[in-house]
């Protein structure tokens, strides 16, 4: 009954209520979105670098190398010679080496030449069909298969480079032989084939003027024969990067120095680069968080003002409740309840709005970076803390008006009215 009265009271002055709820909603929405994005962003970034100690690639920006070769979101800094990379790949310190050759794209989804180890690294299994074996056989990531409705046995032509509008390679068609299971990692948004596939696809390009694009694999060799399939043992070929898992702890550090000094390549630690990226990213997140808590404080003040100013006109109402048998404490409860109800409403709306914003953000980042966020996850701990903070704001805002209601002199109020 007290709750019902409080509920009716807050909607009796809809303008005040709407303002307070609106402010609370915006602050909760911002914080919810930040919490979810930060968590999922970090999860995505961290899960993708599991088992990758070093990335071997062309010299240039280390972050660019990591973003391109691990997360597939940037263009690679350049190509490296497969022959010289092999020297390091076969080094006894290396536990596992996964070579990557960037090829074309199909409707904006990257076609990546690699080995089957790449799928194994992400725990992606072929749920439909088989693994690629021959050139031009591809395994399609689960997201792509779903979005483009690709099925085993289908064939398609790739477009050159990483732009969807790139020139279509019509010499060879890719054939889907398998669909990968869902992993929640980058592999879901990749089309995977053998490295010689990428080489062979571009074999004929020599007659045309060079593209000059970075990260695009061209073999420098002047072969004219296209009949025979290229194999992984083809000499003088280029790849884009190598993901290395290193046995020797020291090598993880020394190679980062030794490799750029002695070769045209660099070795970069993804963990280090990702931490650097989070550091940059973190400043923005912190600033937004301060802003959101600022808005929450303003909403607390708005609740306080609303309660405090209406207190005067509601004094007789409170006195009446006391005449009808309400105890002092019940008046305190009404005022507190009004504030807390506003906070709960604001929190619920904010949580929903935050998720709506996240799903919109997810659609945008899906299109641009092939990175999606799940708006339906609940981070009970962090969001629980947010709820407690919101309710605390409500309590503090209502404290003085509630105490005033508690201390109301009924006789005086009724006599002076």
């Amino acid at each position: 009954m007290i709750t019902k009265l409080a509920w009716k009271n807050i909607w009796f002055k809809p303008l005040n209520t709407v303002l307070s709820v609106f402010l609370l909603t915006s602050s909760v929405a911002i914080i919810t979105t930040l919490i979810l994005v930060e968590k999922q962003f970090e999860e995505k970034f961290s899960s993708n670098i599991e088992n990758v100690d070093l990335v071997l690639g062309a010299q240039g920006s280390p972050l660019q190398l990591i973003l391109s070769s691990v997360y597939q979101v940037d263009t690679p800094p350049g190509n490296i010679s497969y022959d010289s990379a092999k020297v390091w790949m076969n080094h006894p310190f290396v536990e596992k080496a996964i070579p990557l050759a960037f090829g074309d794209n199909y409707r904006g989804y990257k076609i990546l030449g690699t080995t089957t180890d790449y799928l194994a690294k992400y725990n992606a299994k072929v749920i439909d069909g088989v693994l690629f074996e021959k050139n031009f056989e591809v395994v399609v990531g689960s997201e792509i298969a779903k979005k483009l409705n690709l099925q085993v046995g289908e064939e398609f032509f790739g477009s050159h480079g990483d732009a969807e509008e790139g020139e279509v390679h019509e010499n060879y068609a890719y054939k889907v032989v398998g669909i990968a299971s869902k992993t929640g990692k980058v592999v879901d948004n990749l089309i995977i084939c053998t490295i010689p596939t990428v080489w062979q696809m571009h074999h004929q390009h020599k007659e045309k003027p060079p593209h000059g694009e970075e990260g695009h694999v061209h073999e420098p060799d002047e072969h004219e024969h296209v009949e025979a399939d290229l194999t992984i043992d083809e000499p003088n070929m280029e790849i884009t990067a190598v993901l290395l898992k290193i046995r020797n702890q020291m090598a993880k550090l020394t190679w980062q120095r030794v490799i750029p000094q002695n070769t045209k390549m660099q070795a970069v630690s993804p963990a280090f680069e990702v931490n650097r990226l989070f550091g940059l990213f973190g400043i923005g997140v912190t600033a937004l968080q301060y802003l959101a808590y600022g808005i929450m404080m303003i909403s607390g003040i708005s609740i306080f003002i609303a309660l405090y100013t209406t207190l005067k006109e509601r004094e007789s109402e409170f006195a009446l409740l006391r005449v009808n048998g309400a105890r002092r404490f019940q008046l305190l409860k009404i005022v507190m309840m009004e504030s807390l109800l506003l906070c709960v409403v604001g929190f619920v709306f904010g949580s929903i709005l935050g998720r709506v914003a996240l799903s919109m953000l997810s659609n945008a980042s899906e299109a641009d970076f092939k990175m999606s966020f799940d708006p339906y996850t609940f981070l009970w701990q962090k969001e629980g803390v947010l709820l407690v903070v919101t309710l605390l704001v409500g309590c503090i805002a209502a404290l003085i008006p509630a105490i005033k209601a508690y201390n109301l002199n009924i006789s005086k109020t009724l006599a002076n009215a």
Partner: protein
Amino acid sequence: MISTKNIRFSYNKEQEFIFPDLYCEAGSTLLITGDSGKGKTTYLHILAGLLSPTSGEINIAATDIVSLSEKRTDRFRGKNIGVVFQKSYFIAALTVLENLEMASWLATGKKHTKRAKKLLAQLDIDNQASKLPSQLSIGQQQRVSIARALINEPKVLLADEPTSSLDDKNAEKVMELLTSLSKEYKAALLIVTHDSRIKEKFINKITLV
């Protein structure tokens, strides 16, 4: 029934009110009159347990309410004392019926919707039940106040200038309702007033000097 003994009260040291003892049987009516500043409203607030007297006894249904704690007084008042004020107070956000239900819930923990509807019908305002109090005329509002004062079937019904803001016709109607309903519900009716329209009609009178 209600009776008082040696009630004294003071707001400050210079002025002390000494109120005459009074006695009112269930179902009968007592008028408390007097000029402004003689403490009519103060006496009524003391009788309602809204103010504590410095000394004296107030017996309502064999309970001395002066000796009760504040919490118990609130409870006792809700159950046993109905008050009608000069101006009608309502919970603005609740409808007429909800106002009555709230009054009964605060005192007894039950809503007593049936009794509320019956009272509204007796007061001829049952068609206004789902309106907000602010949408009613002053005469109608005063009738709702009477209904609210009677909802818990109190032992004592206190009325503070119930007719002063009403026109003759409404004043007469309100007085008639107050007296007949307090008889029906067996409540002792105490009316504080300086309204000459009422004074003539009652024999039981106390004048504060």
